[in-house]
Amino acid sequence: VDKDRLEFEEFYTAARDHCLHVVLISVGDRHLADDLVAEAFTGAWASWRKVRVHPAPHAWIVRTALNLHVSWWRRRRREVALASQDEAVAASQYPGLDSSLVTALRRLPARQREVIVLRLLLDLDTATTAQTLGMPNGTVASHLHRGLAALRREIPALDYQEQIK
């Protein structure tokens, strides 16, 4: 058990910020992202024997976070931050969250959004994405194609940018 705890702590320390950033991009709300990721890691520890052998545990966290209810952590958040941290939070700016691409991503249907997040943001291959989302490889490809098409319709400049490059 001690070995498991150490292993989980190492995983959590290494993956938590990365997972938080990905979920934050997907949901656009800092507190909600915090809650979702915390609950997902809670689930990971509860099922650590399974999650530790997953081909992409951090993808398991992201996928779980995007499918969770977060009532417990929401209740927990009824607190007030220390002054210095209030200032730190207020001073933080996340301009990337307001980009047209991120906004369009959040408008996608859930499955398309998940596939794009796992394939393009987490850089998973199709097979691992399929395993993480519990769908066939072909369905992953299909969702990716539809998601990209939707993004292209929302942001024609994406084509333009790519042509320039």
Binding site: R5, F8, E9, Y12, T13, R16, D17, C19, L20, H21, V22, L24, I25, R30, D34, V37, A38, F41, T42, G43, W45, A46, W72, R75, R76, R78, E79, V80, A81, L82, A83, Q85, S92, Y94, P95, G96, L97, S99, L101, V102, L105, I116, R119, L120, L121, D123, L144, H145, L148, L151, R152, L158, D159, Q161, E162, Q163, K165
Partner: protein, 220 residues
Amino acid sequence: VNDTRLAHAVRSGLAEARDSLSTVHMAIPASEIMARADEARRHRRLGVLAGAGGLAAVAVAASVALPASYPTASDSARGHGAHLAAWTVTQQANGNIQIIYREIRDAAGLQRVLRADGVPASVTFPGRENPACRNLPSPHPRWRPGLTPAQIGGPVYWGPHNDTPTPYALIIRRAALPSGVGVALFGSGRDIGEPYDRLAGVPVGLGVNLVRASSQCTGS
């Protein structure tokens, strides 16, 4: 433009968004994550016990008696660079209200949360006590190893909290608050790091009295 090239553009754009979040950090320590999962597992076990044997009463009693119902965190939140909260109010599975505090700020906010949880409460700072509050005799039982909340008996007591370096926790047993009695808290606003003797010391930074509940003092 085919999917591959478009995917490349999307990947680049999302990477830029992710990089802009480099100052955003997950604040909750691993110990708290694991404690939450362990607590949920314990509650599931108790639920199974009650369901399987019709032993609901036993399950409730066990949940009250379990010292492990407290957070079992052992890591230093500060050491992990955690986002410390000045105070956190948690409603425990047994109905008790636990206030973990490092500093008493936003007294009005704390008062609002406690009242929303059904605790007739007044929260003020020293020198700003609500003149409408009438103190009642308020013994302050102290938790000692081996004592359960039921054995402590009082409606308000200082309990253990292992989330060092902030081991300050005040527990309000709503069920033990007599009708017409509320709680008045007096926060000193002192920072963390004060010495704390878990066996004998009442932690500094927060005083508490039982008061006569009234709309002017405790809101109800």
